[in-house]
Amino acid sequence: MTELSCQEIVELVTDYIEDAMPAGERRRFEHHLSYCPGCVTYVEQIRATIRATGAIPRKETLSPALREGLIAQFRLWQRDG
């Protein structure tokens, strides 16, 4: 089994997390993690990055003007088709 290098791990991390890897490559990836604390840190930091990005708040409401505008538009469409 050819070993993956740390540099290769860094380039493959998204395929790994996204579960888009052939089984053999996945085994080589996980084998590398079993002995390389640097890559374990890197993979964990990518996961932490995803969690932190997911915590960015999103604006969950429409402005009243846009909401009213959409309803007015709906009424016109309803009337005129």
Partner: protein, 212 residues
């Protein structure tokens, strides 16, 4: 939502049921507005895109066959109108440009982080990445980190910015992003890979500076 399934909702919309319309605007409107804003140059333009998208959706309801999810169908309309709008402003954004962004094969970390071919472990770390903190979650969720992530995403090339925002901020799955942005699965993943690596690198720079 009031309606048990999308088919019932679409039927009610076709019948001109205003309550159905309000329900669907409340369910998808805020996200449509956020997606429109990702493409548009200003809040005003994003509002116009949303208006136009709903008009397009209402007029196209008869053609909606339920093969795609209503959500995906609506967001494809938003994306198409937003692109046309951007084109009108001579700020054209053909989706083929997003594919082109995936062509470069630049590594996501500088090669000098790794040992060369003559090193003891070719391609191995010269020094391991430094763990961020003993309480990584608390630090990562701070207002400063959030602002840093937002600024980093805002500065990404368009394709990377759209993909990481839809995947990691909006929480869409890969298929939805591929469908709305007209990307192949591979290219979607390449853009996501670059974008996440850059956000990680920005946090790393910031976390390392804090510690020293």
């Amino acid at each position: 939502m009031l309606y048990t399934d999308e088919t019932a909702l679409v039927v009610a919309l076709r019948d001109g049921d205003e309550r159905a319309f309000v329900a669907v605007v409340e369910a998808y409107g805020p996200a449509m507005r956020r997606v429109a804003r990702m493409f548009a140059r200003s809040d005003a333009v994003a509002d116009e895109v949303v208006q136009e998208a709903w008009l397009g959706a209402l007029r196209g309801l008869d053609r909606f066959e339920g093969r795609a999810a209503l959500k995906t169908w609506l967001f494809r309309i938003v994306a198409n109108i937003a692109r046309t709008q951007a084109g009108r402003e001579a700020r054209s954004l053909p989706f083929s440009a997003l594919e082109r962004e995936t062509e470069s094969r630049e590594p996501v970390l500088p090669p000098d982080r790794f040992q060369g071919p003559d090193g003891r472990y070719p391609g191995g770390w010269i020094s391991f990445p430094t763990p961020w903190s003993n309480e990584p979650e608390a630090a990562l969720l701070s207002a400063e980190t959030r602002a840093l992530i937002e600024a980093t995403i805002a500065a990404l090339p368009t394709g990377q910015r759209l993909v990481i925002t839809l995947r990691d901020v909006e929480g869409w799955d890969a298929n939805e992003v591929c469908s709305v942005l007209e990307l192949s699965e591979t290219n979607q993943r390449v853009l996501l890979h670059r974008a996440r690596a850059k956000v990680r690198a920005a946090i790393e720079t910031y976390a390392t500076k804090e510690d020293s």
